[in-house]
């Protein structure tokens, strides 16, 4: 196990992305949340970013000296919550 505590702080529970993963990308100059999403798959798991995106936005704000309200958040898309294909086709008799 690494001694770097940032490797043990999970930011995205769906895809196991740590604080260190996020900070490393920001240190590389990748500060656009859309690009961080595509590099690490934050916001792409079952929670669709409802847990991790606000945290990632605050990490970017802290590390780049921006105001959190100036961080552009990725588009929210349907379905808002995971929906089974059975429900979507009206096959609801389980």
């Amino acid at each position: 196990m690494s001694d770097n505590p940032k490797e043990h702080i999970i930011i995205c529970r769906c895809n196991g992305v740590t604080l260190k993963d996020i900070e490393d990308l920001i240190d590389e100059g990748i500060t656009n949340i859309e690009e961080i999403k595509r590099q690490t798959h934050i916001g792409m798991g079952p929670c669709q970013g409802r847990t991790c995106i606000p945290m990632v936005a605050s990490i970017i704000a802290r590390k780049t000296g921006q105001r959190i309200e100036d961080i552009k958040i990725p588009a929210t898309r349907i379905p808002v919550r995971p929906v089974s294909m059975g429900i979507l086709v009206g096959d609801n008799d389980e």
Partner: protein, 387 residues
């Protein structure tokens, strides 16, 4: 910022970056100009499929070469760590489900043509198809076209590897740097004007796919490329390996679906909107994709869709790309209008473009994609447009 390059490439997607790689490997000084971030246009929105099962000579030949390169991608990228961590081109095959005599006869013809180029495809029985994907509903399936050497790959890892490799080789990639104008003197391109200043270049490649005509307007050239909204979905993960190949059914809305390495299903249907620049997801697509997917694999009704997104197919009238020299201005080239096949075709298309730009010719069948075929009224047979 670099102020002089041999080649300036406009567009940092899979086509622009792969061409930059081949050119840099031949000692050319390349600069890639990307208006947003690498992969942000169409590459990161793609369905991830890589297949040789086309129905015409040129696309089959290009894809055979592409698959050779995809297989050795990590070697080309000189990835320092273990290959398993570099990039996975999973050769899990493409399975076209066939539901009628006419589909079987069409795909039998395609298979014979594919054999000419060494593609190991075949027509198999419904039972054999179910051995490959045990959860398939084969009650109406009459046969399937199967090629085990087709597959899929992650566009995220591919772009990341190319960006690192091109930079290692001395190429420059500028992000958030839109190109606003071609610089032209005496009918010869001399560079590009960007948001950060001018860059001189002996050659310019327009690799902006759906956006290609924006740059062409300046020289009064317009190729028939229109943006259509296509969408895809991904599901929650479940046990990986249940749906290994890309499964295709024209009968079910032109559906394509496969399971990713992490266990989620990725796929879509042919339902499209356009021409349009709007790529917002539609409920109609969500409902139709569910209806069609659950008919192909009924057990999917228990699986939840977690995300849906849109992207562009930069479509041409025959669904084949526009590749070659732009005759109106010396030194100006185009590789655009991929109609949904840019990711899979990229390695070979990029190699052919690098050949054309450095040697003036290529052994790959680039003429098939001649930008001026539409002007001459020579539409190609439509490419099989699917996943």
């Amino acid at each position: 910022m670099m102020n002089k390059a041999d080649v300036a490439i406009v567009g940092g997607g899979i086509i622009g970056l792969f061409t930059a790689f081949w050119l840099a490997q031949r000692g050319e000084r390349v600069v890639v100009l990307e208006k947003n971030y690498p992969g942000s246009g169409s590459t990161f929105r793609c369905g991830t499929g890589i297949r040789q099962q086309f129905g015409d000579d040129a696309n089959i030949q290009m894809m055979v070469r592409s698959v050779e390169i995809w297989k050795d991608f990590c070697k080309y990228m000189e990835y320092p760590g273990p290959a398993s961590e570099c990039f996975t081109f999973a050769q899990t095959g493409y399975l076209f489900l066939l539901y009628s005599e006419s589909e079987i006869s069409e795909f039998s013809k395609n298979v014979s043509l594919q054999h000419k180029y060494g593609v190991p495809s075949s027509i198999i029985s419904p039972e054999e198809a179910r051995e490959i994907v045990p959860t398939l509903d084969i009650s109406e399936v009459m046969a399937a076209a199967w090629n085990p050497t087709d597959g899929k790959a992650s566009p995220f890892l591919a772009i990341r590897a190319l960006v690192d490799r091109v930079r290692d080789m001395g190429g420059e990639i500028y992000v958030n740097t839109p190109v606003t104008e071609l610089l032209i003197e005496k009918n010869t391109v001399t560079g590009v004007k960007t948001s950060r200043g001018e860059i001189k270049a002996d050659m310019v490649l327009n690799a902006t796919n759906a956006w290609a005509n924006a740059l062409n307007e300046q020289i009064g050239v317009r190729f028939p490329i229109e943006p259509y909204k296509h969408q895809a979905i991904v599901t929650e993960p479940f046990k990986a390996g249940e749906i290994k190949p890309m499964v295709i059914s024209f009968k079910h809305g032109g559906a394509y679906l496969t399971q990713k390495a992490n266990g989620g299903v990725i796929g879509g249907i042919a339902l499209k909107y356009g021409p349009t620049w709007d790529i917002s997801p539609t409920y109609e697509f969500l409902r139709e994709v569910s209806r069609n997917f659950t008919r192909i694999i009924p057990a999917l009704k228990y699986i939840s869709i977690i995300r849906q997104w849109g992207g562009y197919y930069a479509e041409t009238p025959d669904h084949n790309a526009i590749l070659g020299k732009v005759k109106e201005v010396d030194g100006y080239y185009i590789a655009a209008g991929f109609s949904g096949h840019g990711f899979m075709l990229a390695p070979a298309v990029a190699e052919a473009m690098a050949d054309l730009m450095t040697k003036g010719s290529t052994t790959l069948p680039l003429d098939f994609y001649d930008p001026y075929r539409f002007q001459r009224g020579e539409l190609r047979e439509q490419a099989i447009q699917m996943g």
